[in-house]
């Protein structure tokens, strides 16, 4: 006996106003009598605080209660019988109905380190008290409704950045500090989720040979803890976790000087979503350009968090606003 959910779309992407369609596939060697087939949709924002940066106590985890977006059950079939063999039971379901009052905005699906926005479809075939009910769960992906999207196009404006020994706020290798380096470039800071981050970068000078240049895509997930301390909404109350979601190498080795290198980073699905600034939580993104210089010191250290400032690293972070466009 097995049960399976199959959605009409292979990529399982639906908009809140759309009807989620699919089939419940039941395979059984004998016929099954049941007390109804029910389909439940559940969307929620799960907030979780792991041992974070600002001395947050572990017990506070419980405080961050999940935020429910949608929770709805429909009956696909009244009680009856399912014949033996493979049976396909079609279903369709409005996750957001006009006039129906929703608990929250339909945030887009996102899987972060501390914040998880997830939409689940659960089918349940109840077979009375004597038998275990059959059930299975499947995640589907929600993208914002076209109607809710920004009308204006993404601004093509680029932000110019430059990295020199003087822009770095952390100590550098002495030869790097004295010899100097200069890397300039430009990059878009507002970016459509379906498009790559584009830009360019040029190494104009560097006294120390370059080992590599990497683009780090960082997500900044913030959770507001405890409404009672509204006034002291400081770093302590806001757990901010900045984690690396994506790392792309754009230069390998000591590249030629004054040659323009393209920046081209395809945004990873699920790990990104439109920038959200909701009350209890926010999801933001940053891009860091990290230059690793060749150094004997670097060899000694094993691989560590690449965003940690090191003597042989130079970096520049730029905020990145991700948007969903029509």
């Amino acid at each position: 006996m097995s049960i399976e959910l199959k959605l009409s779309r292979i990529n399982r992407v639906y908009r809140p106003s759309e009807v989620v369609e699919g089939k419940i596939i039941v395979r059984s060697s004998s016929s099954i009598s049941h007390y109804g087939i029910r389909l439940a949709v559940n969307g929620s924002v799960n907030l979780q605080v792991r041992g974070g940066s600002a001395g947050v106590i572990e017990t506070l985890v419980g405080v961050a209660k999940p935020i429910s977006i949608v929770n709805k059950i429909i009956e696909v079939r009244p009680s009856g019988k399912i014949a033996s063999g493979t049976s396909e039971i079609p279903f369709s379901m409005n996750i957001k109905q006009l006039g129906e009052k929703n608990l929250e905005r339909f945030y887009e699906t996102f899987h972060g380190a501390n914040i998880n926005i997830q939409y689940l479809l659960t089918v349940d075939i109840s077979r009375g008290y004597l038998h275990k009910s059959l059930s299975t769960t499947m995640e589907f992906i929600v993208e914002s409704d076209k109607a809710d999207l920004l009308e204006r196009p993404v601004s093509p404006e680029m932000v110019i950045f430059y990295l020199t020994q003087d822009t770095q706020r952390h100590p550098l290798l002495p030869e790097l500090k004295s010899g100097g380096f200069r890397v300039i470039g430009k990059m878009s800071t507002q970016c459509c989720l379906s498009d790559p981050i584009v830009g360019e970068l040029t190494v104009e000078a560097s006294a120390v040979p370059i080992c590599s240049i990497d683009m780090h895509l960082l997500r900044v997930e913030s959770i507001l803890l405890g409404e009672k301390i509204v006034t002291e909404q400081s770093l302590i109350q806001t757990t901010q976790a900045c984690t690396l979601s994506h790392l792309i190498n754009i230069a390998d080795g000591d590249v030629c000087r004054n040659m323009t290198l393209p920046i081209y980073v395809i945004l990873p699905r699920l790990l990104t979503c439109p920038t959200v600034l909701a009350g209890p939580f926010s999801i933001e993104f940053k891009v860091a350009i990290v230059i690793t210089f060749q150094s004997d010191v670097a060899k000694v250290h094993s691989k560590s968090d690449p965003t940690t400032p090191r003597l042989w690293l130079a970096m520049e972070s730029l905020p990145l606003e991700l948007v969903r466009t029509r």
Binding site: D252, G253, V255, C256, M259, T260, P262, I266
Partner: protein, 917 residues
């Protein structure tokens, strides 16, 4: 039995064809009126077909066929060349790449090799730094954790990966497929394998190409078929992105997303290149992606990795429907920048890196070669100008070649691909550019050399003088022979074509000066050979070569096979103009021949195609001392001593000495002593001639000459020897091919016709020789019935001829008396002939019956019948033999066989011997 009396001269007159003077040679080229029918002047004699008078329609047709074959093959070749399949070209390029840089015995793999060396933790750092470090100190590198595996293991591991990928794909496991592909692409980051990198590249790109094809097919399938495998759409060859359904697009996007998430730059580029054609499912302008990839490649600092990445790029971009030369040009320019960095970077660093640098540049070379080839493929002359400006060679269309240096290895491959019109029209500018471009990446003299060769492709160069002047200026500065020869070799043709004798002299002088001061190395010898052969090909006459200063001096400095090849060419020129009369030339060529003969490599060639031996033989046969016949004979003796080992040469010597004897005979009888010495020379030389059949023929030839000289005892002895050599023929060679048998037969027939002239030997009896021959034939078991029949017919004809009052021909010597004069009318002589004839007739009839094949037996019977009827008077006895033979013919052949009919007719018209004695 009575012989038929014949009047040969009357018969000849009666049967001879009328002779009409012809205006044209029948075999000469057809005149302007090719179809003018030749008047048939056969006087109604339809029995006879003159092959030369036959209407030449057939010949015409045959000629058309020939022309047809030529044009069609030409067209086939050119079309093949122009539409050569890019994938085939790529495959052959990869093959040559792997052959050029074979995998070394061991491969030290580094950072990325955990795929290669399974189960061991490897050391991780940037491939570039690894590479540089290895250059610095390979030993230290090895200690630090590079793994060493054998080259064979390395290659077989890659094959395994390919098999794994295929397996995963066919199991619909795309995730594993992608993972394997990424692993493979990552291997290409490890350039520390240096020498093995081309092999790695060839194998890895093979795998990536396979992935690219599979993904393409899969997405295409999605775009054309729905889930139930029914076709809902057909994508034309030139489909646009809007023709593709969203499901297929989604899959395609997914692939690019997955690839885009690969962290390392190099594998990301390689994978996207492998999938480059798939962009067509998403956008109508896949070239934009290509341009981005070209830019991204600039992020690869490792020169080797980036060069090969660009190589793969130029291969992949040919899979797109529209080819963009601009992309290739960017690749070439970026390559140039990287190379300049390699060259300049190592100048600053300390000492002994030049070997590594040379290896590195050598490894990078095939990539620019391929890119240049792609750039200039199917390019019009008009575009060339733009391309050159784009490549940074010139400032504008007018000055295509600027006045600043260019990276010489790039220049080399550019020069190789430039259309020859451009090369010849801009030769002087290119020369200046080569002069300016002198860096370590490529030997400058090879660029001068290449230019020379490229210029030779066109028959006429306007600026030949200026170019050659410049080239001479360049080579004068070279101290080494090697460079001097390499460049000179390329320009010799131009110098010769333009008759620049001064330059030629100065080059030869330059060569001899440099060659005298140092030992000539083997590769230099080859270049020198090439130069001399070109000179020799140009000159028609040996005199020109003698008159060239330094030529003989240079020739003396040469050795080995090159020397022999040049010698062969000299000999070839020497014998080209027929007779060689000049004693100096003869002496010179004799020395050349000796040197050639002494060269071990050539001496050992024992086959019939032995070119030097043929040339020497030809030379010997062409030597003509004119009136000084004694000297010529002395020359022949000398040759026999010098070239004893050459097969076939002795034959030439005998022919020559026989010719010499004939020449002396024609000159009158005062040279009889000399003729004797010639014959003696032949006689002495003859026994060592090896194939028996050749020996036999030479015996006959010499016997004939002796006979003409009236030296009967010599000729008798020679004929005896001939019969002896015929006798041992079988003993020497058991298996006899039919062609051999034909040859033997014709030699025997020749012997019989010779015997007509030989006076009967009184001591042994006049029929001594024919009798001997009959006995010999009967003793030879290998003779076929057909041969025996021919033989017996010949002997019947011989006997009939000998019985005549006038022999059909005589030896051209007044002193020598024929059998007609000696014996005609002698009854015992006639009786002896008749009795032998009787004996032979019996043998003849028996031999016919032994023939197994019906048709053969029939025609043999008819042949014998004709022979007998024309030789003997048809007495009762003979008539019955003849009619028996005709019966045999009738039983074996069809009644309307023309030979049968004409034979019957012939017999019926002959007067029957009512007067038989």
């Amino acid at each position: 039995m009575e012989f038929r009396p014949r009047n040969y001269s009357a018969e000849k007159q009666a049967h001879a064809l009328p002779r009409v003077r012809a205006d044209d040679h029948p075999l000469s080229a057809p005149s302007s009126l090719p179809h003018l029918q030749i008047e048939v002047v056969d006087h109604g004699d339809t029995e006879f077909f003159d092959p030369l008078r036959r209407s030449d329609n057939n010949a015409e047709a045959a000629k058309e066929d020939l022309v047809d074959i030529e044009t069609s093959s030409g067209a086939g070749l050119s079309s093949e060349a122009s539409t050569q399949n890019p994938s085939k070209e790529w495959a052959s390029f990869k093959r040559s790449l792997v052959q050029r840089f074979p995998v070394s015995k061991t491969v030290s793999t580094s950072s990325m090799s955990d795929v290669m060396v399974k189960g061991r933790k490897t050391y991780e750092k940037s491939s570039t730094s690894m590479h540089l470090e290895e250059l610095d100190d390979p030993e230290k590198f090895a200690e630090e954790g590079g793994k060493v595996i054998t080259g064979q293991e390395y290659v077989s591991r890659l094959h395994e990966l390919k098999a794994e990928l295929t397996r995963a794909w066919h199991a619909d496991d795309r995730v594993t497929s992608l993972k394997i592909s990424i692993k493979v692409a990552r291997l290409l980051m490890d350039t520390s394998v240096l020498q093995c990198y081309p092999t790695l590249f060839a194998l890895a790109t093979d795998i990536l190409d396979m992935l690219g094809d599979m993904v393409w097919e899969r997405i295409k399938l999605k775009a054309e078929f729905d889930e139930d495998e029914t076709k809902f759409c057909f994508l034309p060859e030139n489909f646009s992105a809007s023709d593709v359904c969203s499901d297929a697009k989604e899959t395609c996007k997914n692939w690019f997303c997955k690839i885009g998430a690969v962290r390392e730059l190099l594998p990301r580029i390689y994978l996207e290149l492998a999938l480059l054609p798939c962009w067509r499912f998403l956008v109508d302008q896949p070239l934009d992606s290509l341009r981005r990839l070209i830019m991204m490649t600039r992020g690869l600092a490792d020169p080797l990795a980036s060069a090969y990445c660009r190589l793969y790029m130029s291969h992949c971009m040919r899979k797109l429907p529209s080819l963009d030369t601009g992309c290739l040009l960017t690749c070439a320019n970026d390559f140039k920048i990287v190379l300049m960095r390699v060259i300049s970077a190592e100048e600053t660093s300390h000492g002994n890196l030049s070997d590594n640098k040379r290896l590195l540049v050598g490894l990078m070379e095939p990539t620019i070669e391929f890119i240049m080839k792609c750039i200039f493929k199917n390019m019009s002359e008009r575009q060339v100008g733009d391309v050159l400006v784009e490549l940074g060679l010139g400032d504008n269309q007018v000055e295509l070649f600027g006045r600043f240096p260019y990276v010489s290895i790039v220049l080399h491959h550019l020069l190789k691909q430039l259309p020859s019109e451009v090369v010849s029209s801009r030769a002087v500018e290119i020369l200046c550019l080569i002069e300016l471009s002198n860096d370590d990446s490529f030997d400058q003299c090879l660029n001068y050399r290449l230019l020379g060769f490229r210029l030779c492709e066109r028959s006429q160069i306007d600026t030949a003088n200026a170019v050659v002047d410049k080239a001479i200026q360049v080579i004068v500065q070279y101290d080494g022979l090697d460079e001097y020869l390499k460049v000179a070799d390329a320009y010799v043709d131009i110098i010769l074509q333009n008759h620049m004798d001064d330059h030629l002299n100065s080059i030869l002088e330059g060569i001899s000066k440099r060659a005298c001061s140092e030992e000539i190395a083997d590769d230099e010898m080859e270049t020198l050979q090439s130069i001399l052969v070109k000179l020799l090909a140009y000159y028609k006459d040996l005199e020109d070569i003698f008159s060239m200063n330094h030529f003989l001096k240079i020739l003396d400095l040469m050795y080995g096979s090159s020397r022999s090849i040049v010698n062969m060419h000299i000999l070839d020129i020497g014998i080209r103009n027929g007779c060689i009369r000049d004693p100096r030339t003869i002496q010179f060529l004799l020395e050349i021949s000796r040197a050639l003969h002494q060269d071990e490599n050539f001496g050992n060639l024992k086959d019939d195609t032995n070119q030097p031996a043929r040339l020497i033989s030809q030379f010997v046969s062409l030597v003509d001392y004119g009136a000084e016949m004694e000297s010529q004979l002395a020359f022949l003796v000398e040759c026999r001593g010098s070239f004893g080992g050459i097969r076939g040469l002795k034959e030439t010597l005998i022919h020559s000495s026989n010719c010499l004897a004939i020449k002396a005979l024609k000159d009158g009888n005062r040279h009889l002593g000399f003729v004797k010495s010639c014959i003696a020379f032949s006689e002495v030389t003859l026994p060592s001639i090896s194939p028996q059949i050749r020996q036999l023929n030479l015996y006959l030839e010499t016997a004939e000459v002796a006979l003409l000289g009236g030296l009967i005892s010599h000729s008798d002895g020679l004929i005896d020897s001939a019969i002896n050599s015929l006798q041992i023929l079988d003993v020497l060679d058991g298996s006899r091919t039919p062609i051999d048998a034909e040859g033997v037969l014709s030699s025997i027939q020749k012997l019989f016709s010779l015997l007509v002239m030989v006076p009967g030997n009184l001591e042994h009896g006049v029929t001594y020789l024919p009798k001997n021959l009959v006995l010999m034939i009967n003793s030879q078991s290998w003779m076929t019935p057909r041969m025996r029949v021919k033989f017996f017919c010949a002997i019947v004809s011989l006997l009939a001829a000998l019985s005549q009052q006038n022999l059909p021909y005589h030896a051209d010597n007044v002193k020598l008396l024929g059998n007609d004069v000696l014996f005609f009318g002698d009854s015992s002589y006639l009786h002896e002939l008749a009795s032998l004839c009787q004996f032979v007739l019996q043998n003849l009839v028996d031999a016919i019956q032994q023939e197994p094949s019906m048709t053969a037996r029939g025609s043999m019977a008819l042949e014998a019948c004709n022979c007998i009827a024309s030789s003997l008077i048809l007495s009762q006895e003979i008539s019955s033999i003849c009619s028996k033979l005709i019966e045999t013919g009738k039983s074996c052949l069809s009644t309307n066989n023309r030979y049968l009919q004409s034979t019957i007719q012939f017999i019926d018209h002959l007067p029957h011997s009512s007067v038989a004695v």
